[in-house]
């Protein structure tokens, strides 16, 4: 996939995040301060605008860098700062390569997850975005030889089950940690945001 194709794919996936504004806000409110809907939906809209204005010659790494910088800057927060640091580091693994494939994507994801865990001092099981991200990368690793549609489906299935499990976890990181037991029954907002993003990518792919 070229940079231009990646930009277009992302651009069509982002409206899914706008649609999730209220869901994400409510989930974040159940455990934290309720701003994640604004962070994610507002960020997605800004990113879509930035991508629309990008040169068609941009590399996939460049596309990711621009997208995540705009996302992190639009509505700074824990989620966008962690995601920003993670994806920026991940995008560095792509260098200036003109194309990106599933293996390269997996690298980006692994690095991003590691940076998020390090900066956030968090791990799988702490009720964060990592509980959806890490299993989805494992699923991608298991379907590297499959079609893109198969890969995405496997990632979604894994992220979905990871996200559902967060509803049973007691949060240990971020604002949600103070709430403890109270958030039980609600999925983690960041994990849900990531799941919706994957679903957006899948919907965008189906359309094109």
């Amino acid at each position: 996939m070229t940079g231009q194709e990646l930009a277009e794919w992302l651009r069509q996936a982002l409206p899914m995040l706008s649609e999730a504004r209220e869901e994400l806000g409510d989930l974040d409110a159940a455990a934290g301060d309720g701003d994640l809907g604004t962070t994610v939906a507002g960020g997605a809209e800004a990113v879509a605008a930035a991508l629309a204005g990008m040169a068609s010659t941009a590399s996939p790494g460049e596309v990711l860098r621009v997208a995540v910088r705009v996302f992190a800057k639009t509505n700074p927060s824990s989620f966008s700062a962690l995601l920003g640091a993670g994806v920026l580091a991940g995008a560095r693994t792509l260098g200036d390569a003109a194309e990106v494939d599933a293996t390269a994507t997996l690298n980006v994801g692994r690095v991003a997850a590691a940076v998020i865990a390090e900066r956030g001092q968090s791990a799988v099981g702490d009720r964060t975005v990592l509980d959806a991200l890490v299993p989805s990368l494992d699923a991608l690793a298991g379907t590297l030889s499959g079609s893109r549609a198969q890969q995405l489906q496997a990632m979604i299935t894994a992220a979905q089950s990871g996200t559902e499990q967060t509803a049973t976890m007691v949060p240990r990181r971020g604002r949600a940690a103070w709430v403890g037991e109270r958030s039980r029954g609600f999925s983690d907002a960041g994990a849900t945001a990531y799941l919706r993003f994957l679903e957006g990518l899948s919907r965008s792919r189906d359309r094109s």
Binding site: G32, D35, T38, A85
Partner: protein
């Protein structure tokens, strides 16, 4: 002209004097800078970085703070002479960008280093840390002190996870006075750390705030409920219960705060009874009355009392009680002159 800010929930409308919810912060800043042109200005490079008008102050440690909007006077109300030097302004209840923090840092730096002094929130920490790295690369030395005064946000053995609330006012005041008298970076940081270590806060919420871009309350309390231990973003507290009398509430807040302070006979304290936004200051004085009685019982001496709105949560109803245990030096720093649009000497 039809109202643009009429989101509905449960048949209710967001009742605010605002224009487009998205312009809330920028219009607020425009109004604020217009109202106080002699005291505050923007960094030339960044709209969301504000400084005391005479920054940088050559040879003195700069104090840079920041955080989400919606807490006035916190944060930007504590930028001024004898207080913080600059501030990075985030969206409502959200972290400022690392760009804004870096811009404030560059514009404030007077050659003696920068103290980052802000509330302990993951998003703020991540952005301040990034800005500190970038500033470091430009040769600006910095130290960081996180304010974590809210006893309701984690147990004592996990106090490093506690959030920063109204008590940060005391940290601004004491560290600001230390910087103003010419202390070096290590000393200003030590003063800030000492102040934070001696400060404890606990709050109660009676109703929730509505973030303009969200359009509905972050949480819903029944009409006869209160949230003990609520955070300044409406984070749930330690327990939810039936509304009680002012004296009973003051007792619960006092007990939570006093348990971690060494309040002996003759010890000197500063007290802050802070309104969260919608609660009349009359009620804050009724709370203070009880806190004063409790301190009298302990034999503690109230060196200074602050009653009013210092760290709010938009239109949330409720209050918090902060106590700072004073030593001789902190007492002098607390009493030192300071001035900002929100701070009277």
């Amino acid at each position: 002209m039809e109202v643009t800010n009429a989101e509905h929930w449960d048949g209710k409308v967001m009742k605010k004097l605002i224009n487009e919810p998205e312009s809330f912060v920028d219009e607020m800043l425009e109004g604020l800078l217009a109202a106080h042109p002699a005291e505050l200005r923007r960094a030339s490079t960044e709209e969301r970085a504000l400084l005391r008008a005479d920054a940088p102050v050559a040879g003195k440690v700069a104090i840079v703070t920041g955080g989400g909007s919606g807490h006035l006077p916190v944060f930007l109300g504590f930028v001024g002479f004898g207080l913080a030097t600059g501030v990075a302004v985030g969206n409502v209840f959200s972290s400022p960008s690392s760009d804004a923090i870096l811009a404030a840092t560059q514009a404030c730096h007077g050659g003696a280093g920068v103290l980052y002094l802000y509330g302990n929130y993951t998003g703020d920490r991540l952005n301040f840390e990034l800005a500190a790295e970038l500033a470091e690369a430009e040769g600006i030395a910095s130290a960081t002190v996180l304010v974590n005064d809210d006893v309701a946000s984690a147990p004592p053995d996990r106090s490093s996870e506690r959030r920063g609330v109204a008590g940060m006012v005391f940290a601004f005041k004491c560290a600001g006075a230390a910087a103003e008298r010419g202390d070096d970076l290590a000393t200003v940081a030590e003063i800030a750390r000492r102040t934070v270590a001696a400060t404890r806060t606990m709050g109660v919420g009676l109703s929730a705030a509505v973030v303009p871009t969200v359009g509905k309350p972050t949480f819903v309390l029944a009409d006869d409920e209160m949230e003990i231990g609520v955070g300044i973003h409406g984070e749930p507290g330690v327990r939810r219960g039936r509304l009680q009398s002012a004296d009973a509430v003051a007792d619960e807040l006092f007990d939570g705060v006093a348990a971690e302070l060494d309040l002996g006979v003759g010890c000197q304290v500063a007290v802050l009874v802070n309104g969260l936004g919608a609660t009349p200051v009359e009620e804050l004085y009724i709370l203070f009355r009880r806190i004063q009685h409790r301190l009298d019982e302990e034999g503690a001496v109230v060196h200074r009392a602050f009653v009013g709105e210092y760290a709010t949560s938009l239109e949330m109803a409720g209050a918090s009680v902060t106590i700072l245990g004073l030593d001789e030096e902190l007492m002098a720093l607390l009493d030192a002159p300071a001035r900002s649009p929100f701070w009277r000497p």
